[in-house]
């Protein structure tokens, strides 16, 4: 039995001097699981994902990913090569002017050659049904297209785990269905934060509810 992908113990986080958003939280996500997380607005769902990716530092508690304690920025480099995060706002995630640059960015920074990175980017774009979008200007895409490109930036890095933050917000039905079918085929551990019950029903078997700093 391999170590769980995500294991957090006593995780506590607060913004500034405010009340804790996460309060001594314990959580385990085994490898290959597909879990959904629901919870009211501002209940700390995004914060939890950001803590797991090492983008913020928790005040207390430990984060154990792939069986190892992760504390320093260096610990998380290795994690980010294997674990992807789909941001709630695609405009945050897509920071290059054209689609190809954006999708190739991850592979390049993992050490791929420019040609290999472009190849990985093209494959990832094809996988989300956006072959031929390579030279498009990112800011002129629709919300649904942006979301799929953002997903492709993750897929190009071939993650074994994917964290998704409100993946269906701002999407129309067609874009949502396309996202659904891509994720269904994906052989990765999935953690989906969403208010979209039907979307969670279609993709996940386990469901958690985050409220008052605790998961249930």
């Amino acid at each position: 039995m391999s170590a769980p992908v995500i294991e957090v113990r006593g995780l506590t986080f607060a913004y500034g001097d405010g009340p804790p958003v996460l309060d001594a939280l314990d959580w385990v996500v085994p490898a290959g699981a597909r879990v959904g997380v629901t919870g009211p607005n501002a209940s700390g769902k995004s914060t939890l994902l950001h803590l797991i990716m090492g983008l913020r530092a928790a005040q207390q508690g430990s984060i154990i990913l792939y069986g190892r304690h992760r504390v320093t920025e260096g610990d998380f480099y290795e994690v980010r090569a294997r674990m992807g995060l789909l941001f709630q706002d695609s405009d945050d995630q897509l920071f290059c002017p054209t689609v190809l640059d954006d999708v190739a960015f991850g592979p390049l920074h993992l050490g791929a050659s420019p040609d290999a990175a472009q190849e990985a980017a093209r494959e990832a774009l094809a996988a989300v049904g956006l072959a031929g979008y390579e030279e498009r200007i990112t800011s002129r895409l629709s919300a649904g297209e942006k979301k799929c490109v953002a997903l492709a930036t993750n897929l190009a890095m071939q993650p074994d785990t994917l964290l998704l933050d409100e993946p269906t917000s701002y999407l129309d039905d067609r874009s949502r269905d396309r996202l659904l079918s891509v994720l269904k085929e994906l052989p990765a551990t999935l953690v989906i934060v969403s208010h979209d019950r039907a979307f969670l029903d279609a993709l996940t078997r386990t469901r958690y509810h985050l409220e008052d700093g605790r998961l249930r």
């Binding site: 983008l55 405009d91 920071f95 002017p97 960015f105 991850g106 390049l108 990175a117």
Partner: protein, 246 residues
């Protein structure tokens, strides 16, 4: 890649565009006599005409620029000392004055045209790719690419904010409330930009960003791009000849 059609500008390598624009600007800026600015003015004009450049797009730019020059000429000409060319009532216009104004008009139009014809006709990301391949430090290019990426986003954000203000009765006028509202808009825009910057930094980290940036585009230099550079060399030679000829 660009659609490589028959249009001479569209088929141009972005690097050749940057070299031509920068080169023509350099030539126009260096010229010290009105006549030697002429090649740098005619070149973008002829290129624009042969590429069927939509000059009406530059109508407003041209009016603004030359209107400014007219204003500058009116306020400057009476004060340039030197041998008199003509006298209008109490005001005498001198030869050095004419030359000063003439240079301003010729150079200004040449410089703006070169930039407009060669650079504003391609998608701005290509400017970044070209600069990267021409040896501009990758860090600067990365900065420029991010700015290009987020200008549209912020413009839309600011537009939505202004719309929301107008929907609640805001009308720009010359008063304290207008000023306050503008300040609120600027503050909100910068706040959102700074907070977005934090999230973008996080997104970069997620994709393994540790400080390096690599341009991923392969550009194709073709024979006709070399021909463009030859044209630039000829224009430069023309300027130098006109400048130094006996």
């Amino acid at each position: 890649m660009n659609a490589r059609g028959r249009d001479p500008l569209q088929s141009m390598d972005p690097r050749a565009r940057v070299i031509c624009a920068a080169g023509l600007c350099l030539v126009a800026a260096l010229a010290q006599a009105p006549v030697s600015v002429v090649p740098a003015l005619l070149t973008p004009l002829v290129v624009g005409l042969s590429a069927r450049f939509p000059f009406q797009r530059l109508l407003w730019t041209g009016l603004r620029l030359n209107g400014l020059f007219a204003l500058m000429a009116l306020s400057t000409l009476p004060f340039v000392p030197g041998p008199t060319w003509q006298t209008f009532g109490p005001i005498s216009v001198t030869y050095p004055g004419l030359s000063l104004v003439g240079m301003m008009v010729l150079k200004g139009n040449a410089l703006v045209l070169s930039c407009a014809i060669f650079l504003s006709t391609m998608e701005s990301p290509n400017l970044g790719h070209a600069l990267a391949r021409l040896g501009v430090p990758a860090k600067f290019v990365a900065l420029m690419m991010s700015v290009i990426r987020y200008i549209d986003v912020l413009q839309e954000e600011h537009g939505r904010m202004r719309l929301a203000m107008r929907a609640r009765g805001f009308r720009p006028r010359l008063n304290w409330l207008t000023l306050q509202t503008h300040a609120l808009g600027v503050g909100a825009l910068f706040l959102r930009s700074l907070e977005r910057a934090e999230r973008v930094a996080a997104a970069m980290k997620c994709r393994g960003h540790q400080g390096l940036y690599l341009a991923t585009r392969t550009l194709h230099w073709r024979r006709r791009d070399t021909a463009w550079i030859m044209l630039l060399v000829a224009v430069t030679a023309g300027m130098l000849w006109l400048e130094w000829k006996p």
